[in-house]
Point group: C2
Chain length 324, copies 2
Amino acid sequence: MHTSDTLLEKVNEAIRTINLNRSPAELYSPIVYTLNLGGKRIRPVLVLLNCEIFGGDLNSAVNPAIALEVFHNFTLLHDDIMDNAPLRRGKETVYKKWNANVAILSGDTMFALAYKHLIKTDKAILNDILDIFTTAAIEVCEGQQYDMNFETRKDVSIDEYMEMIRLKTAVLIAASMKTGAVIGRANLKDVENIYKFGECVGIAFQLQDDLLDVYGDQEKFGKKIGGDIVSNKKTFLYIKSLQDAKGADKNILQKYFSSADFEPQEKIVAVKKVYDNIGVRETTVELINQYYARALDCYSLISLSEEKKTPLKKYTDRMMQRDF
Amino acid sequence: MHTSDTLLEKVNEAIRTINLNRSPAELYSPIVYTLNLGGKRIRPVLVLLNCEIFGGDLNSAVNPAIALEVFHNFTLLHDDIMDNAPLRRGKETVYKKWNANVAILSGDTMFALAYKHLIKTDKAILNDILDIFTTAAIEVCEGQQYDMNFETRKDVSIDEYMEMIRLKTAVLIAASMKTGAVIGRANLKDVENIYKFGECVGIAFQLQDDLLDVYGDQEKFGKKIGGDIVSNKKTFLYIKSLQDAKGADKNILQKYFSSADFEPQEKIVAVKKVYDNIGVRETTVELINQYYARALDCYSLISLSEEKKTPLKKYTDRMMQRDF
């Protein structure tokens, strides 16, 4: 059994060998740039990890793993256009560094490239792997659309929010795990539990992302603190606080989320103060723990020995602690 | 053997049965709108037609056929953003009717939907069909990037232009034919010739599109005459004329293609006059005929009886005459 760091190296090595030395350069340079931005490579590592705990051949999991990572990076590329995001992992986004047209078309090409790797999967399970991937791809698009819809809506419910992050974030984590399990020839029941495990981990992971945006350590989190507040993102913290807030607190939240024109630092301080008053930090931590506990219930049902499946839990623990 | 009109009906019926009654409506409405805009459905008809002449089962070709049409429509959706095109088939483009973000994300979803249909292909040939499709998808993106590059270049050669339209237009026509032939279990040699046939037909078809933009009948062509001239598109007519023009004619071409600010009608009249002086209409017709003759050379190598393969030639004849 390899450590997750060794698997990460394997993923990075495989990404370096993708042949992107093609013409036109205007199309492929942004793809090289994007894939070289790094990142934690959570999805491909999860493919390899799940393949390995079920006793699968790692080499047969490398192409599907790359497919998941290239797809994920494609979604970031297009999301950054839609969100007008200038920075990603501390560097200029493709749409800023080049332009929106380049970002659209390089993204489209990455989507096709993802399939180019995916179709190298062993024929015996190709159908399943394609189905898992394509279903997840459609759901990720649905999640992104809900997220965009929420930007202009004032009445987003917690249920709607949870469904949005399930689609936008959790299904791809779940699909990565499931892909690995199928390649490792896990039985149907285990594949199902692995997916549910991944889905709950994904939801907990996204809720934690929301939390770190407000209460994280900028150095460790790698993003500017308060970004969601500045851009009026309807996160769990906002929706829950708005629901629980009364009087002046409610007015402050509504006022600051009604426009994008406020001075950022002033806005962050004011909104964070309301969050503190409401105690939404603790509520969010509780919800994260609930989802991670639910994830571990699914994990406990996986029919592998504790020893065999421990590496998976170790890795999701690291995900939850952002310990990469 | 069905007529191509019957095959078109089959395609349209299949498109009507795609389940797009999903949430969020903001994502799926533009997809329904796009697929209902109609069009000639050339690519899916070519899939069915090629399947049938080789004796394949039409029902097994329907899903791949839909995949090709949905993919083609996805490329139009994204191209319209990049080209700032307000109209498509006489109706507002998605990016105009909704906005660019919606067009990006609905397009992405269509790309995934195309694969959703493609992966329903018979397992025995799934790998081949996926490979044909994915290779074509990447090449179409490359062609679109070249087309965008050409917008700001003044030294595009005829060879570069021919390669661009091969990638942007011809490979998808060729891939559609090849897909049908593979489903019809054509032998390798025939599959190869079908692809080359489709490639030459596709190039001739695009050259004719360039020609009709200037010399077509607006009613029959379905687009505004002179659109390529107004938007400074580096078509074969422009590149060839610029190459052959001397003195005043050359100056006129360079002047009018140096900016997008000219009064459209004045620009069309002036550029068309140069084209007439140069005689580029005749040169283009000659080149179209050359490519269609080359296509028919490939056609003649296909190892089916003349009777069996005639429906294919009848259809490509209709394509060349825009007789739909």
